[in-house]
Symmetry: C2
DNA sequence: GTAATAGTGTCTGTCAGACAGTATGTG
DNA sequence: CACATACTGTCTGACAGACACTATTAC
């Protein structure tokens, strides 16, 4: 078997959140060439000595660049070709993370590099490399999974109410859902547990708080929403 | 940004088919170290000069090793860590292909290397690297997609009958399906077209032949089977 | 009491699965 | 004709969505 030169490989992470009712991505401004000063996905190289595997490398990069330990991360897709990077044939392992909108607010200032949330909807910012395509793939993955999984629950803080959760689904799907049917689905899926005794106070009937049950991965509903 | 040594990357292809009512994988016996003489997935290196992108590289490798142009191939998942290859930290872009059981029979003898179909069920052969895990991931992907996609149609030759297709679904799902309901689903999904005039002859009522409509990708049913 | 939102009960049209019945070929 | 398998029609129970009703808090 002949030895071919291995292409340069990187890891990039698409971090999505829901802010002000809109889906947003976390972007960083690049310092170095190529694409210096362009906005790009947080990413980096694999460190063979430190990283046990690809997932660990993705988690390390995310933590180093943003200070976030995300509650949900999955491998999105690999992208590789001769055009995406002017330095030659490269490939990237793209990851896909969801976080609660308020999880990053405090940490953001701590990092020296320029970091910002960008709206998915509307005028697309021009991104470095093929990152626009990677973001599009992540959004499309999220949108398709919303219909039949519990994934959007990771866009909320650890404790939340059922009306909160329903709003998240509605914002991503872009349509209203029936309250009764929605609650039936969530109850059947059995991935939530009430936080005993706790209620969210309000000047009306307060809502029960829930959290995702321990050890529950993403739940696939047997019917679509 | 410091330059880290890029890990060695490869591409491996899990080719699945249905033979004798069983799901089977295509394996090849390795010639070179590491894992010389072990059974492994067909795979190879990226050739930056030849391969436009990852998908093209996977197609080239598949064609070179087996003579197959598969009708269906998708990226499965990337696997990378420090243990899977004794040479050090490596990663592989795993692909997932489905072919009709009779598509390879003739070509197989043409290739000098030892190639064979192995049953998924029963005693698992010990595979080189982490290929057992990759095969398991591919099978699990197929099984989960069978429930709500038209994917299994690619396990059949270009022309087939609805009873053929139903048998494929039943074999993978491991349970009987209602004929009437099954045909309703396929009709709704509208990804098949009758081959005009052609019927499969038999000593009973012959079945209508169908083929997958041009330009139809994998169809997601709106309900589970 | 009113206002506001949380949470539940009920009713109805639709539809999936079960199954029986019809169609079309061979010999 | 019998037989085998392809294909279709019908009936029924279950259930999703619509929507109305009740519950619980603050003021």
């Amino acid at each position: 078997m002949a030895e071919f030169e291995s292409p340069l490989v990187t890891i990039d992470v698409v971090i999505l959140t829901l802010r002000e009712g809109q889906l947003q991505v976390l972007l960083m401004r690049r310092g170095a060439e190529p694409f210096a000063r362009w906005w790009a996905l947080p990413g980096g190289y694999i460190h063979p000595e430190e990283d046990a595997d690809l997932d660990a490398a993705a988690r390390r990069i995310l933590l180093a660049k943003t200070g976030i330990r995300t509650p949900y991360m999955e491998q999105l897709q690999a992208f590789g070709d001769g055009q995406r990077d002017p330095r030659g044939w490269t490939a990237t392992f793209a990851y896909f993370a969801l976080i609660a909108s308020d999880a990053l607010v405090l940490k953001q200032g701590a990092n020296a590099e320029e970091v910002a949330w960008w709206q998915i909807k509307g005028k697309p910012v021009e991104l470095a490399f093929d990152h626009a395509r990677i973001v599009a793939a992540a959004v499309s993955r999220l949108r398709s999974k919303v219909e039949y999984t519990s994934l959007p629950a990771h866009l909320l803080p650890p404790k939340f109410t059922l009306p909160d959760l329903q709003k998240v689904y509605e914002q991503i799907l872009g349509r209203q859902l029936d309250k009764s049917a929605f609650r039936k689905r969530m109850a059947e899926a059995a991935f939530l547990e009430p936080v005993a005794g706790e209620k969210r106070p309000a000047s009306n009937r307060p809502a029960q708080l829930y959290r995702i049950k321990r050890g529950r991965g993403t739940i696939f509903f047997d019917r679509t929403l």
